[in-house]
């Protein structure tokens, strides 16, 4: 069986959808965070697949930039979550409702 561009794009789209609905529906901040990473990895998969299909290297290089930026985002994000946990003793979204009108 030959795996072509469409199969990769299907998996990528699926991963992106799982990540997107995870961010919308899950109530735990850490799980939401993982879902965000899932979306970025869906993008990486699509980039590599397109890069191979189009025979250009730009997509492969772009993946490294995305991984680097995602690492920086995780570092900042986990720091905020830890600081918030120290204040509020919870990482559940439902408990984070201090800011509302």
């Amino acid at each position: 069986m030959n795996i072509g561009l469409n199969e990769y794009l299907f998996v990528s789209g699926l991963l992106f959808a799982i990540g997107f609905f995870g961010v919308l529906l899950r109530r735990n901040t850490l799980v939401i965070y993982m879902c965000m990473e899932l979306m970025l990895n869906a993008v990486n998969l699509a980039l590599v697949a397109f890069s191979r299909y189009n025979q250009t290297m730009d997509g492969n290089i772009f993946v490294f930039f995305i991984i680097t930026v995602a690492a920086a985002e995780v570092a900042v994000g986990l720091a905020i979550i830890v600081a918030l946990y120290r204040k509020r003793r919870s990482v559940e979204v439902d408990d984070l409702n201090a800011l509302s009108h």
Binding site: A46, G59, I61, V69, E73, A83
Partner: protein, 504 residues
């Protein structure tokens, strides 16, 4: 053989790296390092030395930029292998970002004086974020755009949660992080689709450099009806709409604006929004220009909903940071009028947007300057009630507040009015009559809540005890001078617009 090829390739690419073009960004980055060192090596005077170095350094960059802007701008061809493309617009936006960053550093001084927080990181991050915004305004390649945008966004995650002793600030930071991260992923997915379809060897006019704006424009011109390309364009615009706070991507705005420290709120409201708009301008004038049939209705719909939503929700708010945030959503809607006009080929739209952004900068910072003075230690808790009778406690602050809010509302002699007129003129030229109707309705609604705020400052409610002693507020001379300068510029820009005015 391979060695030779590699050397010649690297020479070919390095030949377009003209670092001198990026001197303001490099100067700001070096200034950020200098701030770190000053903090390390000055002992007790650090509370004064750090902001002084940051602000004086930025003023020097600002004057150098102004001096250079007075010279004629010459195009410099391909830079950094097509990553960077400076233009007249990006030169003006550099001045805008430095000006905003100076004012943010000044507000930071006022804020940090009241808080028990580290000081140096605030100035350092502000400088780095500003440098990244300048790069963003000039990026001509999606890789560059993404990296610059993320440098800005990650800097903002830290800045929004800077008040780490306050659960509100941290919560605001977390909300910004989750929604910002999601919008980044959406933007990236759009970019990937455009990259993939633009380089597809089976399509006409495919390109080997589909991340480059100019190459992508060529491809989209030949394939304007391609379904995947359309989805890519919509996703990229959605990602940018998050940054400018347009409906339906505005949900983060009120909470994040309220939770963030006041100077950061100002930074988000002015610079971050302006950065989003300059990217949008670059995109609709560049790669997305052939997709007019898609972008015009999409952005028009977003503009109408944004204007009405922002103004209607701002009415019910009591917290002034939320009022500013939601009215900022409405301002993004007015600015989208200019973008839609630009899509329809009215070149003047870009300058109308930039002039509006400048009037928004002066008006907003006048208001934020007053807010930073009036705010207590609980930075997130700033109610309209705190402004009751401000005119008797501190008539100067009340005056600046009235001018700033008047300009934001668009009251005739002030700068904000002229800014709106310019935007409406370009919208009229582009025959966007529905949008104009929505915008004018929005302006009328906005007068209600802006003047509600001014009324609190000037009139006492009936229930207010008459024998309550007036507590005067102390404002130091330096801050008075800065606030007065902002108010004066706001008034002057209403009468004289310089080079901007002659275009209309």
């Amino acid at each position: 053989m391979n060695q030779q090829l590699l050397t010649s390739l690297s020479e070919q690419y390095a030949s377009t790296n003209h670092w001198a073009v990026l001197w303001p960004e490099i100067a700001l980055a070096l200034l950020a390092v200098l701030v770190l060192l000053v903090d390390l090596f000055t002992g007790k005077v650090k509370a004064l030395a750090v902001p002084l170095v940051a602000i004086v350094g930025q003023i020097a960059v600002l004057f150098a930029l102004l001096f250079k802007a007075s010279c004629e701008f010459e195009g410099s061809g391909v830079l950094f292998s097509g990553m960077i493309l400076p233009s007249n617009l990006s030169e003006v936006m550099r001045i805008f970002f430095v000006l905003a960053s100076i004012l943010v550093s000044w507000l930071g001084m006022v804020y940090l004086k009241k808080q028990y927080l580290p000081r140096m990181e605030f100035y350092c991050l502000t400088l780095l974020v500003t440098a990244a915004m300048m790069l963003l305004a000039q990026s001509a390649n999606f890789v560059m755009l993404f990296v610059a945008l993320e440098t800005v966004t990650i800097g903002f995650y830290v800045l929004v949660s800077y008040g780490r002793n306050s659960a509100f600030s941290l919560e605001g930071g977390l909300k910004y992080l989750v929604l910002g991260g999601t919008s980044t992923a959406i933007l990236l997915f759009g970019i990937v689709l455009l990259y993939g379809i633009g380089g597809n060897p089976n399509l006409p006019a495919h390109t080997t450099d589909s991340l480059n704006f100019a190459a992508l424009e060529g491809f989209l011109a030949a394939n304007a009806d391609n379904f995947i390309a359309k989805i890519g364009v919509v996703l990229v615009i959605c990602g940018i709409c998050f940054k400018i706070g347009a409906v339906p991507f505005q949900i983060w705005i009120p909470d994040v604006y309220q939770g963030a420290p006041t100077p950061v709120t100002a930074f988000l409201a002015v610079s971050s929004k302006a950065a989003g708009f300059i990217v949008l301008i670059n995109l609709v004038m560049g790669p997305f220009a052939p997709m007019k049939e898609l972008t015009v209705p999409l952005l028009s719909a977003i503009a109408v909903v944004t204007i009405l939503f922002g103004n209607l929700t701002a009415i019910g708010q009591r917290n002034v940071k939320r009022v500013i945030g939601l009215s900022g959503v409405a301002h993004a809607g007015y600015l989208l009028l200019g973008v839609v006009a630009l899509c329809k080929g009215i070149e003047l739209g870009a300058w109308a947007i930039i002039f509006y952004l400048f009037t928004y900068l002066f008006g907003s910072f006048a208001v934020f300057g007053v807010m930073a003075q009036v705010a207590g230690v609980d930075d997130e808790n700033q109610d309209v009630d705190h402004y009751i009778d401000l005119a008797r406690r501190q008539p100067f602050l009340a005056g600046v507040l009235a001018i700033g809010l008047g300009s934001l509302a668009g009251i005739p002699p002030l700068a904000g009015f002229i800014g709106k007129v310019f935007l409406f003129i370009v919208a009229f030229q582009a025959e966007l009559y529905t949008l104009l109707g929505a915008a004018i309705t929005g302006v009328v609604i906005s007068i209600y809540y802006y003047f509600g705020w001014i009324r609190e400052a000037y009139y006492k409610p009936q229930s207010w005890p008459t024998d309550k002693p007036v507590q005067p507020m102390q404002v130091c001379v330096g801050h008075k001078v800065a606030l007065a300068a902002l108010a004066i510029v706001t008034v002057l820009l209403g009468f004289y617009q310089g080079a901007f005015g002659s275009g209309f």
